[in-house]
């Protein structure tokens, strides 16, 4: 689950999921919705992402930055995502689609106010992205 929250200068996204992989999937879904108004058909070949970071907040920022790179460089956003997380390591298989109608240019994900926390039996995070 994701929702966009009020932030005067940038875009703030609230993420929630039952587990950490779900939180990263929610981040990818939010990113795709923010960046593209309309997405074309899914590419045949999946994109494999392999990341390692010191903590889960850094992993979340890095994950979003990978998506920023993909959108900026290749004009693609996730259509479906499978994520596995083992400690400080993320492995993802991403099915991408081309951005047909763009919405918002995202420059980067930030660490501002970012914390992955447990609440009401699920994991939550709030992330601010520079737009």
């Amino acid at each position: 689950m994701h929702r966009f929250e009020t932030h005067t200068g940038e875009v703030q996204i609230r993420l929630a999921a039952p587990d950490l992989p779900g939180l990263f999937v929610a981040a990818a879904e939010a990113f795709a919705e923010l960046v593209a108004e309309r997405v074309g058909p899914e590419r045949a070949e999946p994109w494999h992402v392999d990341l390692r970071e010191a903590d889960r907040e850094a992993l979340l920022v890095r994950w979003l930055d990978e998506l920023v790179y993909r959108a900026d460089r290749h004009g693609e956003v996730p259509r479906s995502v499978q994520v596995a997380i083992d400690g400080d390591h993320l492995a993802a298989e991403v099915r991408l689609g081309p951005i047909v109608v763009p919405r918002t240019e995202v420059k980067a994900a930030t660490y501002h106010g970012l914390a992955v926390r447990a609440a009401a039996g699920q994991l939550e995070a709030t992330v601010v992205v520079d737009v």
Binding site: T8, G9, R73, E105, H112
Partner: protein, 474 residues
Amino acid sequence: MQIDARRIGEVLWELQCDARTDLRVPARVFADEALIERVLSDRSAAQLLNVTTLPGIQGYALGMPDMHEGYGFPVGGVAGTSSVDGVISPGGIGFDINCGVRLLATGLSAAHVRAQVPALVHALARSIPTGYGRASRVALAPKVLGGVLARGAAYVVDTLGLGEPDDLVFTESGGSLAAADPGEVSARAKERGHDQLGTLGGGNHFLEVQEVESIHDAAAARAFGLAVGDVTILLHTGSRGLGHQVCTDHVHVMDQALRRRGVQLVDRQLAYAPLASPEGRAYFGAMCAAANFAWANRQVLTERVREVARTLWGEVTLRVVYDVAHNIAKLEDHGGQRLCIHRKGATRAFGPAHPELPDRYRGIGQPIFIPGSMGTASWVLSGEDAASAVSFASTCHGAGRALSRTAAKARDPGHVVRRALEARGITVHCPSSGELAEEAPLAYKDVDHVVAIVVAAGIARKVARLRPLGVLKG
């Protein structure tokens, strides 16, 4: 956490927060009652207080009157750190390194060419790639990209032959920072930038055709080449994906280094490194290279605008009035000290006596451009010598957002914004209806109000007010 503001001058306030014991210097904001109320209504005041915790910060952390919530620094935030034992923080510059504005004077009368403005805007839209990830007409070979990163706009003019020597004279730092180190720009950043030179990008970037509506300082306007009724063109863009990636890469490096040392930050986006450290030097070299890329980008765009203008108007001369950054860190002398001035959404404002000014502007002051919004006005100001002591020679960079993007879109959808602007005779070209709504005039503070504060503070004086005739939005 309760934050209050105590008035310490006509348009100067000091933020107070009894709960904070980690502040190294005061946090001050240029504002009147109405603007300080806005500042206290979002998280920008807390962000400015966070800035005061940077090691080596000198004097105060400053908020300009257009200050609003950002990340790390607030947008409209300024800080000077010691160049000897202070730090540099990419969060004090932002991802869009050397986002800035360049004003072109056409010498044409709006009365004569007004009817051609729609054709001009549409021709510019065909010539200049805008929006998310749009590539340029050309991909730069690695050697050429290396030249751009090392020498910026100077390389574009001297080596690529795009532009006039005077374009560099009237660009901050000659459009080229000698401290640039292309070797500290990652392969991914170069990959993102190699085909983005000469592109506008998305977000709040734009190209605006304007008319000089009024002159407020005749001598300065004469020196800047502006007269009532003249057509001007304002470019607003930055270092594109290359600059974004430079910031991403180096925040990551600094964050990891701080964690290894067990340093806990009040905001991780304020990750820093001592200027003299390997991480600090690497970031400064890469940031200067990205800044050069941005100046090169605005130089290439200037040539595109000139090409289009010539097709419509023949041998017209488009002169660069000035080009100034508003997301950058520079080493400057203030109060007898060499400081690393971080400006995030803030514009340099050198006074009439500053040695870096081009001869033509000596005794006048550095030109400063303050865009309002698509439907209101922009201002041309000139810097005052007193600004060095008042604000580290810094001023606002725009009107400043008043509404979040979500709130702006909820008020008026893009097609309504477009119709309202067109009803006022403003031609609008924007690839995304959603982004048009996000940048609607109602999303911004009153630019006249914001400018009045920096004038009252003694930072700058008014030269000319420009009103929009046509907008190409990124």
